[in-house]
Amino acid sequence: MAGIGFALQKLLESKSLAKKFYAFLLATFISSGPWLFSMISLIFINIFSSIFIKVETMIPFRVTIIYVYAISIITSGPVQYLLTKYLADQHYIKKWSNFYPALFTAFIIQGVVSLIFIPLWLYLLSGADIIFKIVTILLYIVITYIWLMMDFLSASKRYLAIVYSFLIGSFLSVSLTILFMVIGKSSSIIISGFFLGQLFILFMLFFFAGRQFPFRMYINKEFLGYFKIYPMYLFIGGAYNLGLWSDKIIMWIVKGERIVFNYRIFDPYDFMIFIAYLSMIPALAFFLLKSETSFFVRYHTFYKSINKERLYVIEENFRRMRFDMYKAIFILSLIQFFSLIIFLVIVNSFDFFKFCSQYSVPLILASSFQVLFLFVLIYMMYFNLIIEATISSFMFFFLNVFLNLFQFIYPIITIGYGYFIATFFSFLFSLVILIYKIKDLIFNVFREQVVE
C-alpha cells in the first residue's frame, strides 16, 4: 500500500463510526472529486451568468464544455489506458525514473492524436469566431493533458494532489470565467476565462508531479514499446470510452437539435445522464476504498507469494484475494442498488426534473450497470485478462450503438433502454467471464512466465 492507502486503512480499522465515515468521504473526494468540482464550477458559472449576461451568450460555452469533455475522453482513452498500464508496471518494480519520461512521451503522442481531430472541431465550430475556435481547440488539448496528468498522479497514488489541484483550479476557473463574463460579455471571452482556469489546473498537477519525480524530458522508448507489446490496452480505452458516449452522440444526431454552430444536443437526455452519473459516486468511493486497502493487500500478497511460497500458500492467498473481490462486487452492487432507489425517488419527486424524468428509470439503471461494468473491467485488467476485457469493451460499444440505433428503426424499446440493456449485458457478460477465467489465474501467471 502506498500513500493514501495507509491513511484510509487506518481510518477503516478504527472502531469509531465517524472515522469510518470520514474514510468514505475522503474516498468520495478522491474518486469523484475532479469530476464533481468541474460540474460544480459549471453550475456556479451558469448561475452567475444569469446575473451578468443573456442566456443565449452562454449556450456556445455550455455546449462546448460538453463536447470538449466528450471528445477529449474518447480521443485520449487509448493513450490513458496504456500509460496507466506502463506506470503500474514501473510502480511494481519501483523504477521511478521512468515515470516522467513516459508522461512526456504520452504528451507528445496525445498531442499528435489531438491534432488529427482539429478538422472535427473546425466542422463543429463552423460559424464561431476565430478566437472561440482557437481557445476551444486549446481547451480540448489542455483537458486531454489533464486526463493524462490525473492518470500519472493516480499511478503514483498522489490522489490528494489531484483533489487540491481541482479544488483550487476549479475555484480559479469559476472566478476567471465570471470576471471575463463581466468584462467581455462575449462567449469567446468567457471561454478564455474558463480555459485559463483549466490551464492553471494543469500547471498545478505538473507542480505536484514535479515534487515527487525527477523532471526528465526525453522519449521513453520502453513506453513506446508498450504500443507494440500491449496494443489491447489501446483498444480497451478506445472501445470503452467510445461506447460510453455513443448513446449520447446518437441521441444528439437523431433526437437532438442543432443548437449553435454545428453542435447538436438533446437536453433532457444529457441532463438526466448527468444526474444518473451522480448516483455512481458512492460506489466509486467504495471501490477506491477497497482497491486501495484490503484488495490491494491481498493482491500483492498473492503475487509476491508466487515467487517464493509453497503451492498451498499460493492457493490460499489466491482464494482470499478472490473472495475479497467477490465480496467487493457484491457490496458495490448493494450500494449501487440503494443509490439507484434514492435517485429514482428524488428525480420522480421534484418538478425540477419533470422535463427529463421520463428517462430517469432506464438511465439511472444504465449508470448503475455502467459503474459495475467498469469495476469488472478494472478487475479484469488487474488480473491480466486483457483479451477478455477487450472483447467486453467492444461488446459494450457495439451493443450501445446497435441498440440505440435500433430503437429508432424498430421502436420496441424506448429512449434510454438501449443504453441500459447494453450496460446490463456487458456487465453480466464480463462478470461471467471474470468468474470463469479467474479459476485459472495461478496457471495463467505461471504460463505467462514461460511465454516471456
Partner: protein, 482 residues
Amino acid sequence: MGFMARKSVGMIIEGSYPYIVGGVASWCQSLIDNLPEIDFKIIAILPEQYKEREIQYKLPDNIIEFKKIWLGSFGDEYTKKKFTFNRKRHKEVVDRFFCCVKSFFNFLKFNNYRTLYELVSFLYPADSSLIDFSDIFTSRNFFNLIKEYYELYFSSVPFIQFFWTIHNIFQPLYKLGTYSIPYADCYHTISTGYAGLVGVLAKLRFNRPLLLTEHGIYVNERRDEIDASDKIRDDLKPVWKIFFKHLCSLTYPFCDRVITLYRNNSLSEIEECCLPGNIEIIPNGINLNLFGNLTLEKRDIVNVGIVARVVPIKDVITFIKASRYVKDKNVNIKFFIIGPTDEDVEYYEKCKALVDELNLQDTVTFTGKVNMKDFYPKIDIMVLTSVREAQPLTLMEAMAIGIPCVSSNVGSCSELLEGVGFITAVKAPEKTAEAILRLAENKDLWLNLSKKSKIRATVNYDWNKIVDEYRRIYKRYSSWQA
C-alpha cells in the same frame, strides 16, 4: 581404380569447440587437422551466452559443415503457433510426450531407466516438429502434471523453483529434438549428456554408427557442479543429479564404440552401465616432434616447475607450501610457477601473499605465460598439485623430454606415472616436498626415472599414433553397411 567418396564424420561437441580454448577443444582441432582425408561436420551444442563469443580456432578446411544448436531459451521461432492438418497424429505425439513426462516423474522416485528411452523414441523421428512449444510447455496438462507430482513429492519446496526445474529439464530436450541433424557416415560424440543425446538421435534417424570419446566423466562433472552450486536448492539437487545420471547412461547402450582416455574412466563408465566389451582406451597424445627432441640443460641448481594456470583447481598453494619444506632441507633448489596469472586475480594475489609470508621471494618465481619449448629444458623436476585433472598434457610433455614428475593422485596421473614418477595425495605439501627432495638429491634415481618417463611417453602418448587409432576407427565405422 574407382572414385572413392570421402567419408564424413559428424562430430558432436558440447560447450567447448570452437568457442573455448582448452583441453577438449584443442584435442578436437588437432584430430580434425591431422585427418585431412576425412570430412567433418561439426554439431556444436552451445549455451546461449556463447552467442557473444568469437570462434577461437581457425577451422580446418575439412570441416565442411558447422551446425550450432543453442541450448537455452526459446526464441520466437519456437513459440510461434504451428498448425498441422493431421490432428490425430498431432494428438498422438502430444500424448506421447506427456507419457514421457509422467514417466520422468516416476523415475525421480523410482529410478526407472525406461523413461529416457521413451523420450528418445519420442524425439528421434523429429515428431516434435509437428507440435508446438505451446502444446506442451504452456499447456494446462503440463502444469497439472507438475502440480500433481509437486504435491506428492516436493510440497515443501517453493513451487516456482520446482516448476522451473522441470521446465529447465524438458525444454532443452524438446529443443534438441526439433533440430535437423546433418547426415554423416558415422557420428562421434565427445561426451555423453546433451551431446550424447544428439548422437543417439542421429544414430536412430540415419541408422549410422555412433562413437563416444569421454575425456572427463560428464555425470561426475555435473554432479560436482550441482553440489558446489548455491543457486540450486539442496532439496532439488537430487532431481538434477538423477536427470543427468540417466541422460548420460542413455548414450552408452547406443554407442558402437566407447573410447576413453584411461582405465579409471572406463571403470566409471562400466558403473554407468556401459558394456565393458565396448570400451577402448585411447589416451591423449603429444607432438613428440615438438617435445621429444628437446634436451635438458645441465646446471648446478635444481629447477622444479609446475606448468599450470594460477587458479584454485591447480592448487598452486600446495606447490608453494611444498617449496618451503624443500627449502628448509636444501637451498639449491628453485621453484617456477609457469602459467598465466590473469585468470583468477584474487587467487594469484593469495599465492603471492603466501610466497611473501613464507619468505620464498628468492626461491619461487611466477613466470606468467611463456613459450614452453624454451622453458621445458630448464626444468629438472615437473610437479602437478591439481585437485582435479583428466589426463594432463603437461605431464606427458615433461615425460617426453625426460623430466621426472611428481603429481597428486587425480584423474589418470597414477596411470601415467606408475613406476616412472611419484604420486602423492591431494593437498599434501609435505609428501610433495619429500618426493622432490628424493629426486633432487639422488642423481641415479633421477636418471632412471628420466629414461623410463621418456620411453613411456614415446611408446604410449605419441599423438601420431593416437591419430592413427582414430583413423582406423573412423574407417571401420564410416564404411559400415546396414
